[in-house]
Symmetry: C2
Subunit: 201 residues, 2 copies
């Protein structure tokens, strides 16, 4: 299963089907310039085709964003399933560091998609309100909130959990501050940093 998108990083990517190349270019431009400031025309020109060609592969601009969104969706679902599988609040609290570790790996493996999400929060929320998306797919964030809020976990633990998620995002996606070490070393440092939030006192 290929949740990640091959990153040729060329100006006019030739690998894969046209549909896949559209998604690849869209991912780049949506992340760089933002979804709203990227026109269908921008994508088409970067790809060397016309707008009309895009509408053969996708029925709307929002559909392109939706497709990219769904590819990331499985990431959160796996974390949720693992969390939900644990019965009691106590077990959930104990298992969290391990789940977080898997989350770090997943985010790191899908950095481009996560960055797209991070930089286009409002555009993605607008999708949820208008598209059929809600019917079939339960919103991932709402689900996580219900799970954490509904747990018998003490508030102190829930705050730590939320903070740790934000820490992972910042640690893995913020560029320009720790470029003097290898990427693997950086990921490892993120792991230990967030793990320390759940150390015994």
């Amino acid at each position: 299963m290929a949740t990640t998108i091959a990153s040729d990083s060329g100006s006019a990517p030739q690998g894969g089907s046209t549909r896949e190349r559209i998604l690849q270019v869209a991912l780049e431009l949506f992340t760089e310039q933002g979804y709203d400031k990227t026109s269908i025309r921008d994508i088409a020109e970067q790809l060397g085709v016309t707008k009309a060609a895009l509408y053969y592969h996708f029925k709307s601009k929002a559909d392109i964003l939706l497709e990219l969104h769904l590819r990331l969706h499985g990431l959160g679902e796996r974390l949720l399933d693992a969390l939900e599988a644990l019965p009691s609040g106590e077990a959930r609290a104990r298992a969290w560091p391990q789940l977080l570790d898997g989350f770090i790996t997943a985010v790191d493996d899908n950095r481009e998609l996560v960055a797209l999400h991070q930089r286009n929060q409002s555009a993605l929320e607008a999708l949820h309100d208008s598209e059929r998306h809600r019917a079939a797919n339960d919103d991932i964030e709402r689900q996580l909130r219900r799970l954490l809020a509904g747990s018998e976990l003490p508030p102190e633990m829930r705050v730590r959990m939320v903070c740790s998620l934000g820490a992972v995002m910042a640690g893995l996606l913020t560029d320009g501050i720790v470029d003097d070490i290898s990427h693997e070393a950086r990921v490892a440092l993120v792991r230990t940093s967030v793990a320390d939030m759940f150390r015994a006192p």
Copy 2:
């Protein structure tokens, strides 16, 4: 100095000058619906005036966003000044938890503005590219990156710093998970959570 904006939370706020009321409504709508999906007309109607009236007070839609951005700008500047005032990398590392504490207070005091920033990252970056903004005001994030990257701080410390900033954002801005305690208690929990990232082993 009023960096925060009075939040009447009414449908048609009457407090303050028209210019201030515009900013207040814009802040709400930009955060709720996103900057790009909020039209000048939306703001005007919510305010009970016409579009043309807005153009008397602001020369463009982007100018409204810019004004809101500048109000948050001072927040990061204060953290930067405090960080820059410390000479050596060692002193900077030791002082970080205290600086972080001030950062938490500042973010909490300006939650609405920070949320606006968080949800409209791409729109704000587009501002930087086009407006005069760059000339007068050095970009706050770039400055922070240079300070941290240029420091003699070890990478392990820099990663922790970046992670802690993300943790604060998530802990203070994510709603729906810890609503069963007072806001003050929640802020206190965020403080201890991130502080634990800088505990001695």
